[in-house]
């Protein structure tokens, strides 16, 4: 029963993904690895779409992953399951707002949860890097160490890294960089 499984996986994601935005991404890579509902490459594409459309990234991701896994009802169930734990937690915490904010144990837990969440997102970034700027299948085939590098992709990555961090351009919305990369990908036939 894929709907029940979707609900359970996204409920866990909503409960454990801390820190907003990209925090859901490592959980989705985990789901991809265990359930096989979608591939790592598909997930990277979904991140691009979620980041260039309006709305919270986590919610966008849940809707998209749910749709890819099980169609319209899949997206409905995944989205509801993702927000359900936060709604429950917030309703409980709202009653003890000040006490919660000042609580020693909550603060202490978050002292470690923040860097842990950053580490998880970095690990998910490595997974994306492995399928975008590296060419592991070719390396396995030829055994030549230089073949592991996807040179055109690495050049694009370097250009994007500069563009997204220099003053006038970096304020642009991510969608500009995503469209730019799509055009580069088509012109130079990336992944062909």
């Amino acid at each position: 029963m894929i709907y029940l499984q979707l609900f359970w996986e996204f409920f866990k994601t909503g409960l454990f993904a801390v820190g907003g935005g990209m925090a859901t991404v490592p959980f989705l890579y985990d789901i991809s690895a265990r359930r096989g509902w979608f591939t790592e490459a598909q997930l990277a594409d979904m991140i691009a779409v979620a980041d260039s459309t309006p709305g919270p990234i986590g919610v966008n991701m849940a809707t998209y992953v749910g749709y890819t896994s099980a169609g319209f009802f899949g997206s409905l169930i995944a989205t509801l399951a993702l927000v359900l734990p936060s709604v429950i937690v917030v309703l409980i915490v709202a009653k003890i707002l000040q006490a919660f904010k000042e609580n020693f144990y909550v603060k202490s837990a978050f002292f470690a949860l923040r860097p842990a969440s950053t580490g998880l997102i970095a690990a998910a970034g490595c997974t994306v890097a492995a399928i975008s700027v590296l060419n592991i299948p070719l390396f396995r085939e030829t055994g030549a160490i230089l073949d592991i590098l996807n040179i055109p992709a690495l050049i694009l990555a370097a250009v994007l890294l500069v563009l997204t961090n220099i003053k006038p351009v970096k304020k642009l919305h991510p969608v500009f960089f995503i469209v730019f990369s799509a055009v580069v990908g088509i012109v130079f036939k990336f992944g062909a």
């Binding site: 980041d51 309006p54 809707t63 989205t79 950053t118 055009v183």
Partner: protein
């Protein structure tokens, strides 16, 4: 009921007009929730927002639930939350349905191969930003590195890592307090 629907519509507008989620949403929340509808004061909103980051889940959703609840109880929480996720749901469902039909075209595949490189860079930039805020001393640096290595090398599920990190955080801070 009228106010509940207004809440739904207001949060739908907030969800549908902000790109990038979480942090990008704050100015819009201030304008709509504080200035226009007066559902919360500036201080209350900042409080909700701060606590939204200290509770699990999507920050924008948490803030919507807080505001909805404080004004109209549980029905308010439900309407505000439903509002903030509604636009994402509609927009993404349409895109997912459309893109699924074009996925086999070579040009689309080339485009997404390029886009994946961009996603890689966007995640890297997000990590750098989060790193500056979350890694504040040696212990948090070790936690960051440890989690990164454990998940890359041993492929441990984040569902196990997150509760362990919470326990480690509490243990470290209790120990630090005792040492003083």
């Amino acid at each position: 009921m009228k106010e509940l629907i207004r809440m739904f519509l207001t949060f739908a507008r907030i969800g549908g007009l902000t790109f990038g989620g979480g942090y990008a949403m704050l100015p819009m929340l201030q304008r709509e929730v504080v200035e226009k509808h007066k559902w919360a004061t500036e201080e209350e909103l900042m409080d909700y927002y701060a606590i939204g980051q200290c509770t699990p889940g999507v920050i924008a959703v948490n803030t919507a639930t807080f505001v909805g609840r404080s004004k109209r109880g549980i029905p308010g929480a439900i309407f505000a939350t439903a509002g903030v996720i509604f636009p994402s749901f509609v927009i993404i469902s349409i895109i997912a349905a459309v893109l699924a039909n074009f996925a086999d075209i070579p040009a689309v595949q080339y485009a997404f191969a390029g886009i994946r490189v961009c996603v890689c860079v966007l995640i890297f930039n997000a990590v750098v930003k989060l790193f500056k805020k979350s890694v504040v001393d040696a212990v948090s640096g070790i936690i960051f590195l440890g989690v990164l290595l454990v998940s890359v090398i041993f492929d441990v599920t984040p569902i196990i890592i997150v509760p362990i990190a919470a326990v480690v955080g509490i243990a470290v801070q209790v120990w630090r307090c005792k040492k003083k």
